[in-house]
Amino acid sequence: MQPLIRTKDIWEVELLDALGNETLGQRPAIVIATHSQTDMYMVVPLTSNATATRFPNTYEIPSSSTNHLTVDSVAMIFQMRCLCRLRFLRKIGILEQNHFGRIGVLIKNFLGL
């Protein structure tokens, strides 16, 4: 049985190039919304590159025993995108509600909602 992918989950996802024939790497991402009918998931990518925090529409997340991030990370809201289940490799942890709420505020602001 496939593991459930839920909002607030942090997953390691696999990113392939446009042709789908070369593994470029695995990166962590926060699940923002799920669409079970199509098995598609909206995610906000995370990076450990601290320079990213200087960009607008980003949010710093300290690593913790709840989110299980190995390093402090930056959520790149401006890079939000939809991914299919095949890209989800393993669940890392769960994002704390206070951080998830703030990311939600930034998403709304970014989209002008």
């Binding site: 996802v13 990113l15 446009a18 470029l24 590159n49 320079t51 200087r54």
Partner: protein
């Protein structure tokens, strides 16, 4: 020779603002606009400190109280440089700050804090803002930080390493 106030008036005119310096709202907006423009490089040379409603310059207040009609009429011969215009366009792009005084108060305070300490962490900024301004909501704090980052952003922040990482996400098609 043009005074610092002339540069402020020229900036307000560029931003198509119509100040009424008799009102608190406009004194607030003139203070914050001047602080933002000065932090981004416009040479008005007013010393700012953090007061009750964010960055504030008593010298700027002295100048506009001395010549309120000149400010209200946007009366100046000073011509902004091309560099000044680039700075002010950046502020114009954040025009929603002019529709929400709380957001302007928060964003200008964050700009002040980030200018003092460029390596300050988001979490530390939120803690400082909540301490200085407990009446500002969490959403205002978070959006204010993002607005400040937008104002202070420099193209060199997009490093090759970061560009590669962003490209990688761009190529993830589904």
């Amino acid at each position: 020779m043009s005074s610092n106030l002339d540069k402020v008036i020229a900036s307000l005119r560029f931003l198509e603002l119509r100040p009424d310096i008799r009102t608190y709202r406009w004194r607030f907006l003139v203070q914050k606009t001047t602080h933002l423009a000065q932090t981004l490089g416009l040479q008005t040379n007013y010393p700012f400190t953090i007061y009750v409603a964010g960055p504030y310059s008593p010298l700027l207040a002295r100048d506009y109280y001395a010549q309120p009609d000149k400010v209200n009429a946007l009366q100046t011969e000073y011509e902004l440089t091309r560099r000044d215009a680039v700075i002010l366009e950046k502020i114009r792009a954040c025009c929603d700050l002019y529709q929400d005084m709380s957001l302007m108060e928060c964003a200008s305070t964050v700009v002040y804090l980030m200018n003092e300490n460029p390596d300050i962490r988001d979490g530390d900024i939120i803690a400082r803002i909540k301490h200085l301004k407990p009446y500002l909501g969490d959403s205002t704090c978070v959006i204010g930080i993002s607005k400040a980052k937008e104002l202070l952003f420099k193209s060199e922040y997009l490093t090759e390493e970061l560009k590669k990482e962003i490209d990688m996400w761009e190529k993830a098609k589904d």
